[in-house]
Amino acid sequence: MNARRLLYITGVVALIAWIIVPIYLIALGAFSGRAGVFRWPKSLWPGDATFAAMQVFLQVEGVWKAALNSVIVAGLCMLFSVLLGAPAGYALARFSFRGQTAYRLLIVLTRAFPLAILALPLTVNFIRVGLYDTTLGVALVHTALAFPFAALVSSSLFMGIPRELEEAAWVFGCSRFQAFMKVVLPLALPGLAATAIFAFVISWNEVFAAAVLTVRERTLTAYLLTVLSESPLHFRFAGGFLLIVPSVLFIFAVRKYLFAMWGISNR
């Protein structure tokens, strides 16, 4: 029993290291400056840290406005994804209706087609309807990207909630809507929060649509990532790290919603 326990602890720790170490290394790269990035052999411990590369990014003209745009876009994307995804997921979980498979395929299709290839017609359409270069426009495209997650994940959530619970509520005189709100939703809420968080992160990290569909209303990612691939290596590390930090902190901040789900399985 003890040996198994040891094995188990080792596994957990090893997997933690597997995730953390690469993040630590990019942080090391981000703070080590031009000289450190090209040193051989590299030290795996932080030496003389420099903030020079990071500062350049933070002083780029308009970077804070871009950051604000990113938050707005990601927030809208989060909202739209849940509003569209939760009903869709519920329908997929609770009903067998004609065209269900076709609908599922439509959802998956959205992710199965490389977005960049759609960029030209999409941009033309956006210019025509006046969504071009607006945060709303970018948020809509990001919602299209996040929607498959929202719909499929919430559908598997609703499937896992026994329909007997809901039917019991009907028996006690709840309407379908009331039963959903009072019985199903509380159970599904943590999972729905998870889909919202996905949506936020997907939007935060998306480059191509954000870059093509905006000129003045750039998001932070479009602002930084488009230039990343051709900037010197230490800038790339700094920019990459800078983008990782907010989304990791965001996941940390909302982890309660994401992961407080364990308790309820004691029902």
């Binding site: 090209f38 780029v60 960029a119 030209l120 941009t123 870059a211 093509v212 051709e230 900037s231 010197p232």
Partner: protein
């Protein structure tokens, strides 16, 4: 009363909003560019050059793919936000048919600024009208770490190297240090196709298109394949040679000056720059031109024109050269106190242009949107022969068909160094 106040406030808001947006549309020129994209360069360009412009200019940078998509999409939708476009010759080329407003009215000013006629003509892109005004120049050079010089063959002159000597040099280094120290930018975003079009082919065959599968070309590929045995295998991942140099992966590298700059600036005393090698037909070299074009139906054409004039001033051009490493499009005296790295680049370029056997290759002209597929022909040929060991003759014959299809599609006549043709450029 209350309602009245609200109404007045709304009205005031509306009018001020109107004036804000209206004023913005007039005073602000949106300048979309594929150049100077690295953050540090963008920041320098904004602060040193555009802040001194007569009008407010918003400088937005874009990767070439997104650049094309945006400009074409605006054209298709019939609603333009961008006024001024800055991009490489090859990146402007596909926009000619749909999205540009010719700038014939600026040719006189360009001449007056001292831009030579051959450069201005390049801006016609094979059409009747002036499509862009040359903005900045660059070219490709070679850079080597000084520690590599000890292995240079005794008979070789660094500034008049041949391909055979380059191979011997790289072979020496490999024999002595065990390292394959020569590097080329053959990664997905590297500029390797230009090496084949502007350097290797002209040096060995005296042409680019017409001599594509000639006997000289066969000999050339055999020789290049032999050279490749001493090339760092990481080359197919390198987009920018400055990184491979800084990291110490390679000691000798060929690349665009802007893509060597960082290494040279970081340690100017560690490097030398010199022209690319020569082959039997001469020392091929290719000047690179970035141009300024005005978008069709530009919302602020006067602002774009004013910005172009500002960018063509001798002062702006030398500022750009001294700080960003792109060279003036006219003869201009660079300040003597250039930073060491930039000085190295200037020397390398001067040695290239001044070489006795220099053989100028122009950028492709008249290929329109097929410029990309034209590059692909050369990269595919390289992959087949050098990386996949295919038979040279077979590979060349197959790729020649692809090349022929492009040339016939676009009806592009030969450009230098190929001999002028009356119809589409023939492949021998």
């Amino acid at each position: 009363m209350k309602r009245h106040i609200v109404a007045t406030a709304l009205l005031a808001l509306a009018t001020s909003w109107g004036s804000i947006t209206g004023a913005r549309a007039q005073s602000d020129t949106l300048f979309l560019s594929t150049q100077l994209r690295p953050v540090d360069e963008t920041t320098l360009f904004r602060s040193l050059v555009l802040n001194a412009a007569p009008q407010k200019v918003t400088y937005a940078v874009e990767e070439p793919a997104a650049f094309t998509v945006r400009v074409e999409a605006e054209t298709k939708a019939g609603k333009r936000t961008v006024s001024l476009l800055g991009a490489l010759h090859g990146e402007i080329q596909p926009l000619v048919a749909t999205s540009l407003d010719p700038v014939d009215d600026l040719v006189a000013a360009a001449r007056a600024a001292g831009i030579p006629d051959n450069l201005i003509t390049l801006g016609k892109l094979g059409t009747e009208k002036q499509q862009y005004i040359p903005w900045m120049q660059a070219t490709y050079v070679m850079a080597a770490k000084k520690e590599a010089l000890q292995y240079l063959p005794a008979s070789a002159d660094l500034n008049a190297l041949t391909y055979a000597q380059l191979r011997e040099w790289a072979a020496n280094i490999q024999a002595k240090t065990g390292k394959r120290a020569l590097g080329f930018p053959a990664g997905p975003k590297g500029l390797m196709p230009r090496f084949f079009q502007g350097y290797l082919y002209p040096s060995f065959t005296g042409g680019v298109v017409s001599t594509f599968k000639s006997a000289e070309a066969e000999a050339m590929w055999a020789e290049f394949k032999a050279l490749w045995a001493h090339v760092n295998p990481g080359s197919t991942n390198y987009d920018f040679m400055q990184e491979a140099l800084l990291a110490g992966d390679v000691m000798i590298a060929f690349d665009h000056v802007a893509r060597l700059k960082d290494a040279l600036i970081a340690a100017p005393n560690d490097y030398v720059t010199f022209p690319a090698p020569a082959g039997p037909k001469g020392r091929g070299y290719m000047p690179v031109v970035a141009g300024l074009a005005i978008a069709k139906d530009a919302p602020n054409r006067p602002g774009a024109v004013a910005t172009i004039n500002h960018l063509l001033s001798a002062k702006t051009q030398t500022t750009v050269a001294a700080n960003l490493g792109f060279f003036p499009v006219m003869k201009a005296d660079l300040p003597p106190d250039l930073p060491g790295g930039i000085k190295l680049l200037v020397e390398g370029v001067a040695k290239t242009q001044g070489a006795k056997d220099a053989l100028v290759s122009l950028l492709p002209i008249g290929l329109g949107a097929k410029g990309g597929e034209f590059n692909k022909v050369y990269m595919d040929t390289f992959q087949r022969i050098v990386l996949r060991n295919e038979d040279i003759k077979t590979a060349l014959a197959a790729q020649a068909n692809a090349l022929k299809a492009i040339i016939e599609d676009t009806k592009a006549p030969c450009w230098s160094p190929d001999k002028a043709s009356s119809g589409p450029c023939p492949i021998q």
